[in-house]
Symmetry: C2
Subunit: 130 residues, 2 copies
């Protein structure tokens, strides 16, 4: 379910976080689904359970999962945690960074918008047509 790459340099727990984010965003993991126990995933990946726990803590602080100590860890409901203003503010920061990157890579705005739609379809994150 999860794969880590020791070569790549990015911290193990970050790799785990990122992959679960994708799995949740694409719907491979749905609300209520249980994540593997920290010890199970740790043994699969040959790492320390605490490293998995750290990843889970990060996902929980993002509101994507919740943990019940003694019971397990589950995918949270996709409730809107923030106000509209805050949602826009959070995403705008990331959009601005992307726009800057795109500009430096010589992408035009329409090329960027097109790429986003291509990737959305490829990742199967959004089913809507635009």
């Amino acid at each position: 379910m999860i794969r880590i790459n020791s070569q790549e340099g990015t911290p193990i727990y970050i790799q785990i976080v990122r992959q679960f984010k994708y799995l949740i965003a694409t719907g491979s993991l749905k609300s209520g689904d249980e994540l593997p126990p920290v010890r199970v995933l740790a043994q699969q990946l040959l790492i320390n359970p605490n490293t998995v726990a750290k990843a889970y803590r990060e996902l929980e602080s993002d509101g994507l999962i919740y943990t019940r100590p003694g019971a397990g860890t589950y995918v949270a409901e996709p409730r809107t945690l923030f106000s509209d203003e805050e949602r826009i503010r959070i995403l705008s920061e990331k959009v601005d960074v992307l726009l800057t990157e795109a500009k430096h890579l010589n992408f035009s705005l329409s090329e960027l918008l097109h790429l986003i739609q291509v990737r959305a379809k490829f990742l199967n994150i959004y089913t809507e047509e635009v």
Copy 2:
């Protein structure tokens, strides 16, 4: 020209990099323009010249500026450093991350696309209409 925030936690040199990236992307700094000498900017910001130098090194490795030791540091030509495949590969990674974030924040695809155009106009990075 540059401002740093000691509270915010993000490393000083990263803050410097980010701000120069914006200045270049928005055209406030154009090809050939000289960046302030490391000592000058360091004194303005009350930090060590080496910290500024580190920021400049990062910008140079991104191809945005070039330095001539003994002379100064200048904004590079906006030449395309990469092949089309590579440009798309690099940007796709960042797009994927943004799409995942947008999904978790309950943005629809069209809302995301709209926000991008709004921000592009606001930042004045792209002048084209879509």
